[in-house]
Symmetry: C2
Subunit: 343 residues, 2 copies
DNA sequence: AACTGCCATGTTAACGCTATCATCGCATAT
DNA sequence: ATATGCGATGATAGCGTTAACATGGCAGTT
């Protein structure tokens, strides 16, 4: 069962044309603009194409028409399920409009991002979606020269490159901690990754700090965990470290629900009451959040919607050639209070 | 800030050649086979390329060289985090070898799969990875004609199309239920999706049934939930339905950890002791499995490794032109017993 | 000095498609 | 009948790159 030649003699539009007794141009037309072809001819071509199992070479078409049919998305990580929802939203809408999605994983590294960007621009994508705040000046230059629509997501940049469909991580951080303050907590800690590898977490932390300072509360309870705070284990070790260094902490905000889960289970293991002794909240409203015991307070983010609307903006701009009026959309977030932060 | 012309006058290798004072062929050579170019010339070309920010058009290169540099992967769903790990493994290895990954989401539907396959074959991928057991005859035909390496994953097909890096869902199903029998459970139920939309779950269930029958136990305790058993809610409603219809059940196998989580929390809510009254186990060993209370027994699947090894097989075959000796790899699985099934 | 061989570079012709313009009928208007 | 217009199809010329072959120059050999 091991055939699969190195390269098959692929069926081309010329083959189909010969079989249908027309010119290859008519084949192209039949497939792309059937209205311009007489029904009889169309019939012949379609039959021939089916019989030969013709699959048009999109790269050739792209080269000729200068439309690659590609849209690229750059992710900080493929492991983060929230980002994946965004990819999902993109994929759904783009496919429905005839585009293919190219996915690039930057491993949370600006160098990787630039390198990958260069590589991916070689595919001449018609638009680029960035889930990633860390664009280096070099990356920015590359994007500028490419002169294609850009949509930034998962953020609310002060100096947007082009379009934006996102929300403010800072505001989310501010709002969550503010609401904890309202609930009466006053020693509120933050558990997140190092600033340079976890930019979103860092922005959330900044908002968190601002809220505490505004309320006149201490803002120095901060535990830094490993590179990308998406590992449950980070929550496990993080909460232990927190309780050792800051035993007076009464509420803990975790950079993601994943770390919150770790923190939660570690508290259970150690017999620390949640929310009695320590309230816990996270970000992302992951699937499991409402199903934990206690149910986890979390900030719901517009993950899927960002992808979907980013795709819609792209399609609209490419089709119309003009940018939609509302090409900067702040989709906000929603704080969902659950048992884990009940005073 | 709205520039971004419809189409920029892209820099081509001809431009670089002119600037460097060489022929465009020398530019191509400098980039692809620098050893064949004298150091002085190479220098000139590289400088010119950098100054002009030249990004080679990979589609044009693909057309000419008949090497697209694309590898495609077809997924039943983008939502399933297990599949994502596989994509991760693919992506890592393929990128390191200069390939781009095209991702297609089939929405658990054979029609979508065939349609998507046709579309994606238009990109002339150099290999295809299938995470998906449902290839229709039509899809099979398309693949045959494409004559490219195929790697099937997440399965152990009896009639493989080409290479395989997977494991047997049936055996996993058999093994898990067998181990529950050994632990002394005798009314073991199964909670999964409908056969036609959840093929993996169905195979697991068949293995499960076989194990029960072998042991002379009843094998009719079966709850069917919604289309894709990846929703926690399915576990919630599923376990209620189970307890109503089969109150004598003492252990429940869920098609995924996601449904197991739902079942677990619903049991807690209702006050049903786990594992006292009902033992619960799942598949996938999701991140949260060891962190639940009780910790969830689960079957660990080689998600990342399948992707990585699939990519390695592909690269090896394309580079060497010959198929590696061990082009069918059963990576097995591992049953991890935890508290949720402790007798 | 003429010959051989090889290295560095250039020239030409695709790759498979689409844009563009040309052509050819045929129906309708004059 | 001739002119006009338009719908359907065909011929041609690229798109930006690489494969394959051609060329030219220079070192080493006899």
């Amino acid at each position: 069962m091991n055939r699969r030649a190195k390269k098959s003699s692929s069926v081309t539009s010329r083959d189909v044309a010969a079989r249908a007794g027309v010119s290859l141009m008519t084949v192209s037309r039949t497939l792309r603009t059937p209205d311009l072809v007489s029904p009889a001819t169309r019939q012949k071509v379609e039959t021939a194409a089916r019989e030969l199992k013709y699959v048009p070479d999109l790269a050739a078409g792209a080269l000729s028409s200068k439309r690659s049919g590609h849209v690229a998305v750059l992710l900080p990580s493929l492991r983060h399920s929230g980002f994946l929802r965004t990819v999902d939203g993109l994929s759904d809408t783009l496919r429905a409009n005839g585009y293919h999605l190219l996915i690039g994983d930057c491993y949370y590294s600006p160098e990787e991002q630039t390198e990958l960007l260069r590589l991916i621009l070689g595919r001449r994508p018609e638009a680029i979606v960035l889930v990633s705040s860390m664009d280096s000046p070099e990356a920015r230059e590359l994007l500028d020269q490419a002169a294609i629509p850009i949509v930034e997501t998962w953020d609310w940049p002060s100096d947007p490159a082009d379009m934006v469909v996102g929300f403010s991580q800072y505001e989310a951080g501010y709002a969550l901690s503010e609401s904890l303050i309202e609930l009466g907590y006053c020693n509120i800690g933050f558990l997140g990754g190092p600033a340079h590898t976890d930019p979103y977490g860092e922005q959330r932390r900044k908002g968190h700090v601002a809220a505490l300072e505004k309320a006149g509360l201490r803002a120095d309870i901060h535990v830094t965990v490993s590179d990308t705070p998406m590992e449950i284990q980070d929550g496990v070790t993080g909460v232990s470290s927190l309780r050792r260094r800051f035993p007076e902490t009464d509420a803990l905000v975790c950079a993601t629900d994943m770390t919150a889960l770790g923190a939660l289970t570690e508290c259970q293991r150690r017999g620390w009451q949640v929310p009695g002794e320590l309230a816990i909240a996270g970000y992302g409203n992951f699937d499991f959040a409402p199903h934990l015991t206690p149910a986890l307070t979390s900030v719901k983010l517009p993950s899927y919607r960002m992808g979907k609307q980013a795709a819609e903006l792209i399609v609209a701009q490419i089709d119309n050639g003009t940018q939609p009026a509302d090409a900067s959309r702040n989709l906000g977030f929603e704080i969902i209070h659950r048992q884990s932060t009940q005073p």
